[in-house]
């Protein structure tokens, strides 16, 4: 079993503008954590720091050697590939089963051969989720994964997902600005405030 992910005294400044200030946090292994806070506070920045895509001051431990599956705030599906090919690109060969399952879970089986431009915004969002799920990393890092889905679908899909996560003890970090969403699907909620956490 891996350890928790621990941030100590993490600060980040963009061009002289502080975004995160002396942030200390612990994300528990095997738990679903929601990161909450209004827009522009540095939630995406925090995820990027965890993923090693942004540098920071302070220390981050517990991410070394992990295989994260990521949903970025934008869907980032490659427009020249079909949805299924997008999943295959990150999964590599021999993952047909996982890909089919992930597409079915996200109710996208019929859209597998469509290009992203032929999909609605919500379908693209689910496509990005399907890609992360099919990849099957040991930590799921999701930046506002359910934005753009209509209520019914969001409840159905997020419900299915959170049940799976609980059963399998998957470590999940997801960003949201919706407190109902956070309460419904997370074990722990971390609220980001101006330059710190609660």
């Amino acid at each position: 079993m891996r350890g928790d992910i621990v941030l100590e005294g993490v600060s980040k400044t963009y061009e002289g503008k502080p975004v995160l200030r002396d942030l200390s946090l612990r994300f528990e292994e095997g738990k679903v954590t929601a990161i909450m806070g209004p827009s522009g506070l540095g939630k995406t920045t925090l995820l990027k720091i965890l993923l090693g895509l942004e540098s920071c001051e302070g220390s981050v431990t517990g991410m070394e050697g992990r295989r994260p599956a990521v949903v970025f705030q934008e869907s980032r599906l490659l427009p020249w590939l079909s949805l299924k090919q997008n999943l295959e690109l990150v999964c590599g060969p021999g993952k047909d089963r996982e890909i089919a399952d992930a597409l079915a879970l996200m109710e996208l089986t019929d859209a597998a051969d469509k290009k992203p431009a032929e999909l609605s915004g919500g379908m693209q969002r689910r496509g990005a989720l399907a890609r992360a799920i099919a990849y099957g990393g040991d930590i799921l890092v999701l930046d506002e994964p359910f934005t753009g889905l209509d209520e019914d679908l969001k409840e159905r899909i997020a419900g299915k997902l959170s049940r799976q996560w609980r059963e399998s003890g998957q470590t999940v970090l997801f960003v949201t600005h919706d407190s109902t969403e956070a309460k419904a699907y997370a074990d722990t909620i971390v609220k980001l405030n101006e330059g710190g956490s609660l």
Binding site: L51, E74, L78, L89
Partner: protein, 247 residues
């Protein structure tokens, strides 16, 4: 925007071509002497006569091959060069020198220098390659440089290998630039190949016939060859466009 589509557009295009043919006819009538500015009818007759000769088709074929070989080589090396420049800042600096120098060297200098150093029949292909290379290189590199950082991050977090990133993300993401480079190069390839043929005069080439028509003051034939080159070059570009559509 003023871009009609379909039948209407073809109709307009035909009318425009017809209009310019009328201008051409009037111009040739004003000159009066057919070897200075032969009329379209005259030129067309001369072209038909040429087309009856096997030599015409052989010349077209050989020149076409030279253009295709020069352009293919320029595309290949432009692509490899851009790849190297995208990976290494040293390669970028090293390649930027010839790429920008060649761009401003007159075609004629290139041809004359090539004639000094190379044997006659490969000069046109070489010149074509040299003129198209900077265009291909610059366009492809610009394409590689414009790949969004979002894709780089995606590849990084999902541990996509460098080779796969290049082939499945970088190249397809740059396709618009590669296509633009190729289409720009098509016209350039024809002009530079034929110019080099005129000066190096290989026996079977469109450029050679252009030159001999001029020497014999055979205006209609000169025009006929020119029209042949223009038509072939347009067809070639169409074919490249069509081939690129599959991407």
């Amino acid at each position: 925007m003023n871009q009609p589509t379909g039948e209407k557009r073809i109709g307009k295009k035909l009318a425009a071509v017809l209009l310019w043919l009328v201008f051409w006819q009037l111009g040739s009538m004003a000159f009066g002497r057919s070897f200075v500015l032969p009329s379209p009818v005259f030129t067309c007759k001369a072209l038909l006569q040429l087309m009856a000769q096997p030599l015409f088709w052989r010349s077209c074929g050989i020149t076409l091959l030279r253009v295709a070989a020069g352009l293919a080589l320029a595309s290949l090396l432009g692509f490899l060069g851009a790849w190297a420049a995208a990976i290494s800042s040293w390669m970028r600096e090293i390649l930027s020198v010839p790429a920008s120098v060649i761009k401003s060297v007159p075609v004629m200098s290139v041809i004359l220098i090539a004639l000094l150093c190379l044997s006659g029949s490969i000069v046109p292909t070489f010149v074509c390659f040299l003129m198209c290379f900077p265009v291909m290189y610059t366009n492809i590199l610009q394409g590689f440089d414009s790949v969004p950082a979002e894709y780089r991050e995606l590849a990084q977090v999902y541990r996509i290998s460098d080779a796969k990133y290049f082939g499945r993300i970088m190249v397809p993401a740059s396709m618009g630039y590669i296509r633009a480079g190729l289409l720009l190069s098509c016209g350039l390839a024809w002009k530079s190949t034929v110019a080099a043929e005129v000066l190096s005069s290989p026996r079977v080439s469109m450029g050679y016939h252009l030159l001999s028509a001029k020497m014999y003051l055979d205006g209609p034939s000169l025009f006929a060859w020119t029209v042949g080159i223009v038509l072939l070059s347009m067809l070639f570009e169409k074919a490249v466009r069509l081939a690129l559509r599959r991407w």
